[in-house]
Amino acid sequence: MTERVKAWLRAKAPAVLLPVGTTILAFAIGGLVVALTGHNPIDAYKAIFEGTGLNYLLPWTSAEDKDFAALNLQQTLILMTPLMLTALAVALPFKCGMFNIGGQGQYVVGIVASIIVGTHFSGLSKPVHLTLAIGAAALAGAVWGGIAGAMKAAVGAHEVISTIMLNWIAIYGAQYLFELNGPLQGPLRDVPQSSEVTDSAKLPAIWGVLQPLHAGIFLALAALVVYHILINGTVFGYEVRAVGHNPEAARYGGIPVSRSYVAALAIGGAFGGLAGACDVLGWEFHIVTNDIAVSQIGFIGIAVALLGRNNAIGIAFSALLFAGLQVGTSPRALDPTIFPPQLAGNLAIIIQGLIILFVGAQLLLVYAWRARRRRRDEPRPAALVEPTGA
């Protein structure tokens, strides 16, 4: 038994240690940057940590601090929700050997769809209206991702290019809909924004008052579970992974490769669309036209998926990390005497950038290391592979 535990640890340890080590290293270098600006990195990180509201969970936090921490934690969890979903939008196509850069566009069409459904049909009961609005967002995202998949399947158009272009179509299209005099502009003639979704289409609040945490987080967590089961426990997931690792072998095995591409990007897109629904129906309730091009939720989702190694649990943790970084460094939460807010926002970006850089470097290192081992070494105990054997 202990042998099996050891073997399991050996197999799984890198999957945990590498992302954790990456994060620690990124924070250490970020701390160095803070020190260079003449501030105390420990104070800065303590302030950021408190800004995330995670100190709410610590037993020694006093009652009055807890009230404030709760507000921050609600914000962190509200941001974590769409990040988990846009990360899934990257993760599932990744399992099929594709890099979906289109999470942002899929998120935006999800916003548009849930706004349209959420601002209409006001007579419906809440469960029906919510289901419709969420379903429309998922469907819109699925179509948006599916287009890229269909283009790849039909003519081999590379999904990185097509999803980037679809991002811009979604962003400009949404801006057109909600801009001044746009077809879906809200009731305020001078304000470029949408109408507000009706109460029957709002996700229930579950914690807090001012800007409470909404039930969308359950949707996102459920999506993680669905993703995990879909990928690891179903024939569809098996086929997707086979195509991802070796499309030629998959085709030989009778797997419809083109269909897998379309389905993987469509389901990924549906997750992206759901992220849009969570933000609109959970706390934004309307969309301000100028915010559409500024939003980064889909792009941060790429980093979340990379750091989380496309694994459901990993994505949950890395989404919490990235959401915490954003919320913890927002000027609202930081004490300006400890750390100037203009620096704080940049620190978050520096740390995010470093994490992405290191994750990329790891992939390179692993690749180089494997190539080197293949070239130089002969058998290892379990792997009697002759490197030159064809």
Partner: protein, 507 residues
């Protein structure tokens, strides 16, 4: 040995963890000697050559070259000493010319400028001297594999190599190109260059070498003179037990027609007609061998039968099902198993576990899955049974396929394609890259399923394999079947027909 040896290896030992890859190996190579290094995959040939080329350093032992001790810290040291190596995978720069590749990093120069004329002159005179015809100004990407190999050899000679290591040089060559390579080897030998020739093909060793050292499990088990040794003796030395080079099998009892191909025309990926109207039948309980030089349409024919390539016209019928153009799954579900010619390209998903790989064909059906959900326990159970039955070593159901040796990987493919209720088996190069022991295993399995009434189409570039296994032999040349024979046909007749010549028995 009349002359003092050029190269002496004494007691070379190299360990990787608990595995002793080289166990106190001694080896002498004389000047102008062609010394073959023979051994199964994983016997330690490559490690030994990596030691000799400075790619890895031995834990103990001594290398003497030209009578002097040699310390190698990198391939650079080896090249300086006069040791050249032609790897199995070429290390050429495709966009550069032949000349540029040859003189790379040792360029003749005028001050700072590359002396192109002198470089081309040098290359030309080298190529004439050794009979290695190349076009110095051609780009490497535009020349064939055999030419590229010559460039590799010239590259080593340009650096004044006195000892040339050729690592599995014939693996990528056609039979004709192999003969040409052997001519080059003989001419090198005449001019005093020593050669270490690494292979696991017995016939080649006997044809071209002077002496043979056999490695088995990291030890040099014997060094024999080529004259007077035999394939049987060498195979036994390699494997460590007597090996059946020819498969024992009774006469075939062909039954009903299980696979029938009529007037099949198939285009290749470039849109050229690769299969030009081929018709044949394979009956239950017989092995039909398809012989031919690589590139005469065999791959496209196999791809069409197994649903991987849409034929332009013609019919493929297996057990009453019309299959032409219906895809890989239709072909498989009509009962056709397929051992693909390239197990890494198609046969296996190397990042998948063995259980997942063994499930590739039946993951959609119970008990492997139900309502779209996998049953990992059933999949693992079946995998465990197949791994035992087919004697796959080096891992269990949870082992990654990529970590197995080539022979064991092939056994996994064979196990998957032969198990279940297959009535037809298309085996394309089923033993390519395998060592003697694994070849014997695959051959025995093929004969065993023949006895069970499976119809087998065997496609192979190895005439030896075709002759020893087939009950009927078809010869394919330029997309057509040009002859049909019984297995007692001579190798030379087949050889002529494979090259497009006509013999009296041609149909």
């Amino acid at each position: 040995m009349p002359d003092a040896p050029l190269l002496e290896l004494r007691g070379i030992t190299k360990r990787f963890g608990e595995v002793v890859a080289n166990d106190s190996i001694d080896l002498d190579v004389g000047p102008g000697e062609v010394h073959a290094l023979l051994g199964e995959n994983g016997a330690g040939k490559s490690t030994l050559m990596n030691v000799l080329y400075g790619l890895t350093s031995p834990d103990s032992g001594e290398i003497r070259f030209d009578g002097k001790p040699l310390r190698l810290r990198s391939p650079h040291d080896a090249i300086d000493a006069g040791i050249g190596m032609v790897h199995q995978h070429f290390m050429l720069i495709p966009v550069m010319t032949v000349t540029e590749n040859i003189v790379l990093a040792a360029e003749p120069h005028n001050g700072l400028l590359l002396d192109v004329r002198k470089a081309q002159e040098d290359v030309r005179s080298l190529s004439e001297r050794y009979g290695l015809a190349v076009r110095p100004e051609a780009r490497v990407e535009s020349i064939g594999v055999a030419q590229q190999q010559r460039v590799e050899i010239l590259k080593a000679l340009y650096r004044s190599a006195r000892l040339l290591i050729l690592d599995e040089p014939t693996a990528v060559l056609t039979p004709q190109e192999t003969h040409e390579l052997f001519d080059v080897i003989r001419s090198l030998k005449e001019q005093g260059t020593s050669i270490i020739f690494i292979t696991h093909k017995l016939g080649e060793v006997l044809e071209v070498s002077d002496r043979i050292t056999v490695l088995r499990r990291g030890k040099a088990v014997a060094t024999v003179a080529t004259a007077g040794s035999s394939e049987r003796e060498l195979a036994e030395l390699m494997v460590g037990r007597p090996v059946l080079l020819r498969v024992e099998k009774g006469a075939a009892q062909p039954g009903e027609v299980l696979l029938s191909v009529r007037d099949l025309v198939v285009h290749d990926s470039r849109g050229l007609e690769a299969v030009r109207g081929v018709s044949f039948e394979v009956r239950a309980g017989e092995i039909v061998g398809l012989a031919g030089v690589d590139g005469n349409g065999q791959s496209e024919l196999v791809e069409a039968i197994t649903g991987l390539r849409k034929p332009t016209s013609g019919t493929i019928v297996a057990e009453g099902h019309e299959l032409a153009g219906h895809g890989a799954r239709a072909s498989f579900e009509a009962g056709i198993g397929h051992i693909p010619e390239d197990r890494h390209l198609r046969g296996l998903v190397l990042d998948f576990t063995l259980a997942e790989n063994l499930g590739l064909r039946d993951v959609r059906h119970p008990p492997a899955s139900k309502w779209g959900f996998l049953h990992p326990r059933a999949i693992a159970e079946r995998a465990r049974r197949l791994l035992r039955e087919y004697d796959v070593r080096g891992g269990g159901p949870d082992t990654q396929a990529g970590s197995l040796s080539g022979g064991n990987q092939q056994k996994v493919v064979v196990a998957r394609e032969m198990s279940g209720t297959r009535r037809v088996l298309v085996a394309a190069q089923p033993t390519r890259g395998l060592d003697v022991g694994a070849i014997e295993f695959v051959h025995q399995r093929l004969v065993a399923v023949r006895e069970l009434g499976v119809a087998i189409l065997l496609v192979s570039l190895e005439l030896e394999e075709i002759l020893s296994l087939s009950d009927r032999i078809l010869v394919m040349y330029e997309g057509r079947i040009v002859a049909e024979h019984t297995p007692d046909v001579s190798e030379s007749v087949l050889g002529v027909e494979m090259m497009g010549g006509r013999s009296a028995t041609a149909v």
